[in-house]
Symmetry: C2
Subunit: 333 residues, 2 copies
């Protein structure tokens, strides 16, 4: 029900995902009447792999996470997460209020033993492909141990979804020399160095998009500012491109000729391809879609969920954390 | 002498600036022989508004600021800053080691009374023009009071160089709602609200490039990551554009036709136009050029210095700080 567009986007996105993935089964959680209307509108009423599960309340996009958690026990968000907890579904996907999704997921599913706080992780385009970045805003103040946990989780994610046996990990800092950065960053670097992770050391903001590393680790404040900065700059470039191509008859003609190329550029960098951030560290899979997601974007978030189900990402994170923190245990698994 | 290219860039940039600004006088500080050679090469030997001042040492780009400060008392950087201190010149411009420039400037010039730490401030392109952002890396850990000081300094800079009587100030955060952000940010917001500044509240990373505010305030860690992220994304867009336009004969033709437009876009967003970051809060004007600056970029840094001289930026900051912290004093000045 969440996001800027609600079931008008999520239901056709579900249809698209069902068509693309023949093994996929989906449960639409929310106001029954509204969902059924959309299901009919998209001729999905006979679809055996889709069902509607009623939830009477909706968490507003600007609602306080604490209030959503306490007062809205029958919200679509809460009910969907409950279904994950009960094992009725394997993942929850939401375009709703990020803070409420994080708080509710943490409350209902709890974190994996050894993980203090879940982190938000998304993939971003790079010169060579893509990179995974976390945390993107769930954790404002982080300790060195939290950053270490993010590194472990990011590594498992990249290993699982990219089938990359040794993903490289970079710690976001303001200088690549070891002398720079604050105490938390320096301490985190020492902790990550002691693991068996493929640690590449400090990286700077401009390294995110070069593909220098497969996983970028930062606290949620810095990660969020970095992500939003990139969104802002991309939008500025887009605005300037459009305005320059509209300048006169010649430039409009040039635009027409350059359009196929510009569309390919747009496609390569299209944030919709990357929509779907993972809430890592929970006993279950929860994927956050951008609130403004369109049909393509939201169906991409469903795709990410289905990959993480296939790869049993939470179980793998649990195993990696256990291996790391209890080296006397079974390390050969 | 500093930067990636040394006098091969700074001397022709000086020539360009002298041609553009008839009132400008420049002193080239560094290895006399090398500078004189460049002066001759650029036919500047008769130029009355230019002189060479010898300094026997050079601070390396990767040298520790503490060592540069202690051991290299006759470096071109130190000598140039001494000339500011002695009143022989009105500003120092350097493409050298940022940490050493900041440490040496602070040691020699001292900060303006009421300012604890200098901050690095640069202007950035926006949809509507440009914005000023500080701090960009001088101060990793900042208190609320430091952020307040940055807001005051940024406001004075925007007021002076843009002739904007009431520049709007935004505090970079991870959410525009007052509930988000860490304690330092929340406290800083309360402090800035109590001033007479035109405070617009919290902004997010994507607001930097929309032109929502005239001054963006953040701590140096977040500011540096944000700036570098933008550089990285711009470089990715550039790489993808180039590669798509080189794909085949048709796209190469399209590139040829679109080239004038793409060049205009590049020009509008050209970071060289924005080269020259101000070290604000010092008793004197110090401008940091990007190390990789070319002739155009470095001459832009000289231009920024000359504007700040014209507008007496340090004196204005001093007055504003005094007005703010001593309201019983002369507030009508």
């Amino acid at each position: 029900m969440g996001g800027d567009h609600g079931p008008q986007v999520t239901v056709p996105a579900a249809k698209k995902a069902l068509e693309a993935y023949p093994d996929l089964e989906l449960v639409l959680v929310g106001l029954e009447d509204e969902l059924n209307r959309q299901v009919q509108q998209h001729s999905l009423q006979g679809e055996k792999r889709l069902r509607v599960h009623h939830a009477s309340e909706i968490v507003a996009m600007d609602e306080s996470p604490a209030i959503a958690l306490k007062k809205k026990k029958d919200s679509s968000m809460r009910v969907a997460i409950n279904l994950v907890k009960q094992g009725e579904v394997d993942a929850c996907i939401s375009a709703g209020n990020t803070g409420a999704l994080m708080a509710t997921s943490k409350f209902v599913l709890k974190t994996i033993p050894g993980i203090d706080r879940p982190a938000i992780c998304t993939s971003l385009p790079t010169v060579t492909g893509h990179t995974h970045m976390l945390d993107l805003g769930a954790n404002i103040d982080c300790s060195a141990e939290h950053l270490l946990q993010f590194a472990l989780m990011g590594s498992v994610l990249a290993e699982s979804v990219d089938e990359n046996p040794q993903p490289s990990i970079g710690l976001l800092n303001i200088g690549s020399e070891a002398i720079k950065g604050n105490e938390v960053i320096k301490q985190a670097s020492k902790l990550i160095e002691q693991t068996s992770l493929n640690y590449a050391g400090f990286i700077e903001g401009d390294d995110i998009y070069t593909g220098k590393v497969d996983v970028v680790v930062s606290d949620g404040f810095v990660g969020n500012v970095s992500l939003k900065t990139a969104e802002g700059l991309a939008s500025l470039v887009n605005t300037v491109l459009k305005s320059e191509f509209k300048r006169n008859l010649f430039t409009k003609l040039a635009a027409l000729i350059a359009l196929p190329v510009l569309n390919r550029v747009r496609h390569t960098l299209d944030p919709r391809q990357y929509n779907g951030a993972s809430l890592l560290g929970l006993n279950g899979i929860v994927i956050k879609s951008h609130g403004s997601a369109d049909i393509d974007s939201f169906s991409n978030a469903i795709k990410i969920a289905s990959i993480e189900i296939d790869k049993s990402v939470p179980a793998r994170i649990g195993k990696e954390i256990q291996r790391h923190f209890q080296p006397q245990g079974d390390t050969t698994a």
